[in-house]
Amino acid sequence: MTRETRLLAGLHERVGPVLDRVTGLAAAAGRLAGAARSAGRTLRRDDFAALRPAAESALRAHPGLAAGAGVVLAPGTLSDASRAIEWWWADRQGQISPLHVDLDPESAEFYDYTTTEWYREPERTGQPFVAGPYVDFICTRQYTFTLAAPVRCAGRFIGVAGADILATQVERMVLPGLAALGRTAVLTSGHGRVIASNSPQILPGSPLGRHPLAADLVAVPGPAGRPAATRLPWTLLTRPGRPG
């Protein structure tokens, strides 16, 4: 295994389990909904408060990496609220608190999560999705990734489970490895946005495709072993030729 492939494998080993937690959270939310359905009850917001231990355990299992986790529900799913967000976030000291956002469509501060990519993509494809890096101005207020998975009940889409990871944490994870490669190397998102690079000319947040150096970079094969649907959509590109 080359150093490049090892670097990618290490990233999958650290971040992959967070995505597994998210799919677990989505399954748990689906089971809660299914239980209410079997009992002939309508779904209420309180039903999903029971997810708190699972969300907290996801946050505690990945301290300093997972900054927030929870579920949001599709409009029309609940009988007592048009929308609901049951999300918890961990501060720097590891203290976990529920996230409060304004879900009143009449309010000036209304937060419509159904317009976010991390909500729409799992809704559209039925598959997990890694959104970002993007500026999360609601929860973390930082440059963030959201790992998301659809919540389904009786074959119907009823919401999205997710976890937030700060872009800074991902950079910390890969930067020593990138710096040690000894040749230009860039990690990009599924959309081709730079997540981290070892070149001062290629800054995080910029679309790599528009960079003059992009044509010289070649993608490193990703590590095998994870099912395609839960593989991170990130690409490591390096400049071939000069050995690291």
């Binding site: 409060h100 009449e106 501060e109 500026v135 081709g192 528009r210």
Partner: protein
């Protein structure tokens, strides 16, 4: 609901200590804004003066001065006696009047300075968005300019407008500029649509379309210039209204 409720979430945003040492006008503006946004409700009793002064980080004298300004505007009523205290007066349907009261608290030079600040932030954000936005970001921006066109009320327009500018800063991939836009909009956002007649709304929504079109063309210079012009035009409308209010 009284001071106990105010000690919680809203209190943290409403009564966060002020950076600038706290002048009476700033305190009054914060309270007017809270009333305008519906964070303080009609008939709600404000916390005791000493407690409010502490929460704002100003002297009791400054706080009393601020309350006097609100009383003059008819937004607060002070009752004496055992059941006394300062109570919010915000009858429904007077939102425009409240925003106007907020505008009266700002001097023309403050309005100009806020405009300069907003032009700097929004202009830089638009330039970065033109350099960094991906197709998906452009689609998001167009969706929100669409909502601005569809908006009808003051609240809807303010919300859609704020969202367009916040999304532009987010498309610029800058958490700091996004944060700055959010804080500017929460501070003065209510004012922006106050001097706009219904007939002007289409043209103003169109200015946002032109900015987003420049971002989509990756024309960073044009995106910035159009944004600065847009904010300066807003400032000019506010100054004009402020002067008319001064004339009585």
């Amino acid at each position: 609901m009284a001071s106990s409720a105010l000690a919680t979430v809203r209190a943290r945003t409403l009564f966060a200590p002020l950076d600038e040492g706290g002048r009476a006008g700033t305190v009054a503006r914060r309270l007017v804004q809270a009333i305008t946004l519906g964070l303080l409700l009609d008939g709600e009793r404000l916390p005791a003066e000493s407690q409010l002064a502490r929460q704002f980080g100003v002297s009791p004298v400054t706080l009393r001065e601020a309350l006097a300004m609100l009383r003059d505007m008819g937004l607060v009523q002070t009752r004496r006696g055992r059941q006394g205290g300062s109570f919010v007066r915000a009858p429904a349907g007077t939102q425009a009047a409240q925003v106007e009261a907020m505008l009266r608290l700002l001097s023309v030079h403050e309005l100009r300075d806020i405009g300069d600040h907003r032009a700097a932030v929004a202009g830089a954000a638009a330039r970065l968005a033109a350099q960094r936005a991906l197709d998906g970001d452009i689609a998001t921006l167009r969706e929100h300019t669409g909502r601005l066109h569809a908006a009808r009320s003051l609240t809807e327009r303010r919300r859609a407008d704020a969202r367009v500018h916040i999304e532009i800063a987010a498309a610029g991939q800058s958490p700091r500029l996004t944060e700055e836009e959010m804080s500017l909009w929460s501070e003065v956002g209510d004012l922006v649509w106050l001097p706009v007649a219904d007939g002007q709304a289409v043209a103003i929504a169109g200015e946002h379309d032109a900015i987003v079109a420049a971002i989509a063309r990756r024309d960073a210079g044009q995106a910035r210039a159009l944004t600065e012009q847009h904010v300066l035009a807003e400032t000019a409308r506010l100054v004009d209204l402020r002067l008319r209010l001064a004339a009585g």
